[in-house]
């Protein structure tokens, strides 16, 4: 990789200020960034490390620098946000979970092999086409709901679960901090923007805000992988429902691996609200509008099945 200056800010504010310079990137543990650096897909002059940042832990907040393992073993998370616990536990490998951060997991770049193999057309990297959309492309791992012409699949385990439990993100930026629904942080694919997050330049997620609720407590995360040992999900589904007297008061169904951003199956949610939870109906509605590419048609029945299984679990 190209050499760089290495900055060690003490606070998120300092880090965000330091990231206002050109050609600089933020680093958590670096488990995704170092892959991109080694391939010279990203060549910053400065790497701003978030590891030295010490932030006070507040009630109801999980630091963006908490590790996946922290999340997977947290008793409060296990009780109040079971989908989140499962998502963290299923992720990657012990080595990655031990250091990989929540913020890094949300901000990780797409696994699309056209992006990660230099020399291929990628909208996020500034090209006009998405190589995965071609008829002859290798796109078995790509998505069913394109965004901005991009067909990649969001790789984050945590994002679907966080959105399902209505998590918010506290963000830091020199122009002013803000709190946003994590769902709104994913605003679709923008040409020339590799990151999936709608953050301002140098803006950092400092923590994730979680509020316990009947919906969040009744949440589940399911994943389908080809290889059980270490694999990004072909499809993942996080579902959460507030069910009173057998009727769905509120429900969230968020899918990973099927779109560049976590995909909220809004049509399915609408179809299920106010009724008895019917997993089959939810599954059918979730895949409505799915458009397969030349090589990933199989993802449609897989998505339907995972939605069905997730809904069956939260139906109780």
């Amino acid at each position: 990789m190209k050499n760089f200056s290495y900055l060690q800010p003490k606070t998120f504010a300092e880090a965000s200020a330091a990231l206002q310079g050109a050609h600089s990137v933020a680093k958590g543990a670096g488990t995704d960034l170092l892959d991109l650096l080694k391939k010279r897909i990203v060549e910053p002059d400065a790497v701003v490390s978030l590891l030295p940042v010490k932030d006070e832990e507040k009630q109801g907040e999980i630091s963006a620098l908490a590790t996946l393992q922290d999340l997977a073993t947290d008793e409060w998370v296990k009780l109040e946000f079971p989908a989140l616990r499962t998502a963290a536990d299923e992720a990657a490998t012990p080595q990655v979970r031990n250091v990989g951060t929540v913020g890094g997991n949300l901000g990780q770049a797409s696994r699309c092999w056209y992006l990660r193999t230099p020399g291929h057309a990628c909208i996020k990297l500034g090209d006009k086409q998405c190589a995965a959309g071609a008829e002859r492309a290798e796109n078995r791992y790509h998505g069913l709901f394109a965004s901005g012409g991009c067909h990649c699949a969001n790789p984050s385990n945590l994002a679907p679960a966080l959105i399902a439990v209505k998590a918010r993100a506290a963000c830091v930026h020199p122009d002013g901090d803000r709190v946003m629904d994590i769902e709104l942080l994913y605003d679709g694919v923008k040409p020339g923007r590799m990151s999936d997050l709608a953050l301002r330049k140098g803006e950092l997620i400092r923590s994730v805000l979680l509020e316990p609720s009947p919906l969040a407590r009744n949440s589940v995360y399911v994943e389908f992988r080809e290889r059980q040992s270490f694999d990004f999900a072909i499809v993942s589904v996080a579902a959460a429902a507030d069910i009173r007297d057998g009727v769905v008061k509120e429900i969230r169904i968020v899918c990973g691996g099927v779109a560049p951003t976590p995909y909220r199956a809004v049509a399915a949610e609408r179809a299920l609200t106010g009724k008895r939870l019917d997993p089959d109906a939810g599954a059918k509605a979730a895949v409505a509008g799915a458009t397969a590419l030349s090589g990933n048609r199989f993802k449609i029945p897989v998505l339907a099945e995972l939605v069905r299984r997730a809904l069956k679990e939260i139906a109780g």
């Binding site: 389908f224 029945p301 995972l306």
Partner: protein, 733 residues
């Protein structure tokens, strides 16, 4: 002492032959041989080095002033190299050597265009990024299907498709089909698989006083030495190759490659040691692969289970050359008539290399699938069907052992299991020639101090060869394997085989024993000279000399030797490899697999695999089980996960890593029951035979058959990924 007769076979199936090995040959071991050390569990001699991190692989060799070398590689499937600007790279401080191939015609993504050597990996990385190359990108073709089209771009100078390897007579097969009750025609496909050795290819070269020492990651120290010497125009005697340990080869690492030669040239011209190791991307793209296959199979059978005709027409790519992509099909079973035609299909992709049982896993996947389909067509149990058409006595016994272990009687009618998640059981067979060959030699040195050192210049690639040599020597000398020191992997030691074809153990066994036997005789003679008595009536057992005038230990016997050391050279002479009555000139194996298929998602999990394998006489039951495990796990990986993905647009490899090129991990490993099946085969005095490759031959086929049994429909294409399962089940609209 040779006995006059040898009892061959295995318990329950024995017969006697005359011992035709020459006088003075190591004693022949029959079925009832009583052996103290051979045939038991023994821990590896080099295990301690490996578990402490002290074992030195090529990648670990470090020398003061060492340079690092890499090649710059073209990312296009086909191109011509135009202008090359290495000015900035050459000017970078720490860059010591830059060389580019101008005007080169590139025929696959990953082909080298330039080579650089620098003083650190970081400088090397920067320098590579500074080389500017203009490419004229040319049309390419990366799949067999595309390459067979009439308008496909030419890959090389010859037409893309070239016929070779015809065997048998198609007319006889067609005649058999006409007579047969049932004829089935199917297309089977297998994928390109990369070796994925954990240690990549490469070497470290050091010149001193005009002589070269190269630490190479190789399966053939002498082959490596020979190719280096030729490339550098040096005498082989001036080149030493050292491979004490290497991190996997599986057929891809024999002679020196272009980067090894470049590295050695850098070392020679700069006078500094140099290291060249591929990175993972290069390893996947250019260091070899198992060719893929498209097999058009037409098989026929009679209602009574008699196999009639079998014809296979196959296509496959071994990369840019048209050759090397055949399949082993049909084999094993007794067809009345067989015929085969193969075509090699050139593609713009990294070239194939031998990969653990070349041609067999591909061919057997199709063969065993067809066998199950034939059995189904005539309503016969697949196991009974195979037994009826397989004459091999060893395999017939193995079928029963394996069937019992997997619980074949639990197998249900295909597709009849209830529920969304269905289980199924399948089976497949393997055969492999006995590949021990003459020409090797082993040196044994017994010291006056009681030490024993055995040496051979070939390599232990992780199969446990060192320990085998120690066990064989210990058996002759009445010692424990831990008391033997074994030196391997230095070409200054006596010649040994390249580890290809599952040949190392059967080849080295006769000369190892010969060396030990000769050493024993000299030692016992020294005892007789000292104590009196007839040396021919003495032996070494349990650390002692038996039959001597006084009871003495091995160490005491050594103290009686005339000089400081008894040194013998055991030779693998031709006569030691030709048991006159070849009971079994091949090894046999069978595997049974149980799988679980989620019919809603298409996910397949292998629950259990039973592998029953004959490797002649089993020397080390512990490492033999490890080999069988390893072959099976590679087979699971081949069956379910692995696939080289080349982009048809650019010709580049999209999954040249270990994230998207998926090899089986701990969570994908089934329960494995590895059953070594020892056979006294009379081919050599010990009957030790081949194992490494047969252990991986039938696995994918057994899994394919198990999946078909589970879901009632057949996936005829590897890898058996969820999309293919769902498609077979009609769930993809």
């Amino acid at each position: 002492m040779s006995d006059k007769k040898i009892k061959l076979g295995f318990p329950g199936n024995e017969r006697e032959i005359d011992n035709s090995f020459p006088e003075g040959a190591p004693p022949a071991w029959g079925v009832d041989a009583k052996l103290d050390v051979v045939g038991k569990d023994h821990t590896r001699l080099d295990a301690r080095l490996k578990v402490t991190g002290k074992a030195l692989y090529s990648y670990d060799r470090r020398f003061p002033g060492m340079l690092f070398a890499r090649m710059l590689r073209c990312p296009h499937g086909a191109a011509r190299v135009g202008a090359v600007n290495t000015t900035r790279a050459s000017a970078l401080p720490g860059v010591v050597f830059v060389e580019a191939e101008l005007g080169k015609r590139i025929r696959y993504a990953g082909e080298a265009v330039a080579g650089i050597a620098a003083e650190s990996e970081e400088i090397l990385d920067d320098a590579l990024a500074m080389i500017d190359i203009e490419y004229e990108v040319l049309p390419h073709v990366v799949t067999v299907d595309d390459s067979r089209l009439a308008d496909a771009p030419r890959v090389g100078r010859d037409p893309n498709v070239s016929a070779y390897r015809p065997s048998g007579k198609m007319e006889r097969v067609e005649a058999a089909h006409k007579e047969a009750d049932v004829v089935i025609e199917r297309e089977y496909r297998t994928q390109v698989q990369t070796h994925s050795c954990l240690e990549t290819h490469g070497s470290v070269s050091v010149f001193k006083d005009g002589k070269l020492t190269t630490y190479g990651s190789t399966q053939g120290t002498f082959a490596f030495r020979g190719s280096l010497a030729r490339a550098l125009k040096m005498a082989p005697a001036d080149v030493t190759v050292i491979t004490e340990h290497m991190g996997g080869g599986f057929g891809s690492k024999f002679g020196a490659d272009a980067w090894d030669i470049f590295c050695a040239r850098v070392a020679r011209e700069t006078g500094r040691p140099c290291r060249a190791m591929l990175d993972r991307r290069e390893e996947h793209m250019i260091a070899g692969m198992r060719p893929d296959s498209i097999q058009q199979c037409k098989f026929s059978v009679n209602k009574d289970g008699t196999l009639m005709g079998a014809s296979v027409e196959s296509w496959g790519t071994a990369g840019t050359s048209g050759r090397g992509a055949g399949v082993y099909n049909p084999g094993i079973y007794s067809f009345r008539a067989k015929a085969q035609k193969s075509w090699g299909v050139a593609t713009n992709s990294g070239r194939g290399r031998a990969f653990r049982a070349p041609r067999h896993p591909q061919g057997v996947f199709a063969l065993e699938g067809m066998m199950d389909e034939l059995a189904e067509a005539i309503g016969m149990d697949p196991l009974a069907f195979r037994k009826q058409n397989d004459k091999h006595p060893v395999r017939l016994a193995q079928y029963d052992v394996g069937a019992k272990e997997i619980g074949w009687d639990r197998r249900k009618k295909s597709g009849s299991a209830a529920g969304t998640v269905k289980r199924g059981i399948g089976m497949a067979s393997a055969r492999w020639p006995h590949t021990g060959r003459p020409g090797s030699a082993v040196r044994c040195r017994v010291g006056k101090d009681g030490s024993v050192v055995v040496a051979n210049g070939a390599q232990d690639i992780g199969t446990g060869t060192r320990t085998v040599l120690a066990i064989l020597t210990a058996e002759e000398l009445g010692l424990k394997p831990q008391q033997i020191r074994v030196e391997m992997g230095n070409t200054n030691d006596p010649p040994g085989p390249a580890s290809g074809g599952s040949t190392t153990t059967p080849t080295l066994t006769p000369p190892t024993r010969a060396a030990a036997v000769a050493a024993k005789r000299q030692l016992l003679q020294a005892v007789a000279d000292q104590l009196g008595g007839d040396a021919k009536k003495m032996d070494l057992k349990g650390g002692k000399v038996v039959g001597a005038a006084e009871p003495i230990t091995f160490a005491q016997a050594c103290a009686m030797m005339h000089g400081d050391v008894i040194e013998t050279l055991g030779r693998g002479d031709r006569e030691l490899f030709r048991g006159r009555d070849r009971y079994a000139s091949e090894v046999a194996g069978v595997q049974f697999a149980e799988v679980e298929v989620d019919t809603a998602t298409g996910g397949v999990r292998v629950i259990k695999v039973v592998g029953v394998h004959d490797c002649g006489r089993v020397v080390n039951t512990l490492t033999t089980r490890s080999q069988i495990n390893g072959g099976i796990i590679q087979g699971v990986s081949y069956a379910l996960f692995e696939n080289r993905a080349l982009d048809r647009g650019t010709g580049d490899m999209l999954n040249a890593d270990f994230v998207s090129y998926k090899i089986a991990g701990s969570m994908d490993t089934p329960e494995i029951v590895a059953i070594p099946f020892s056979v006294a085969n009379g081919i050599t005095p010990s009957g030790v035979s081949s194992l490494g490759e047969p252990a991986t031959v039938p696995t994918a086929a057994a899994i394919g058959n198990a999946v078909a049994n589970a879901i009632g429909v057949r996936v005829r294409s590897l890898p058996i990924t969820p999309d293919k399962v769902l498609e077979a089940l009609g769930k993809i609209r």
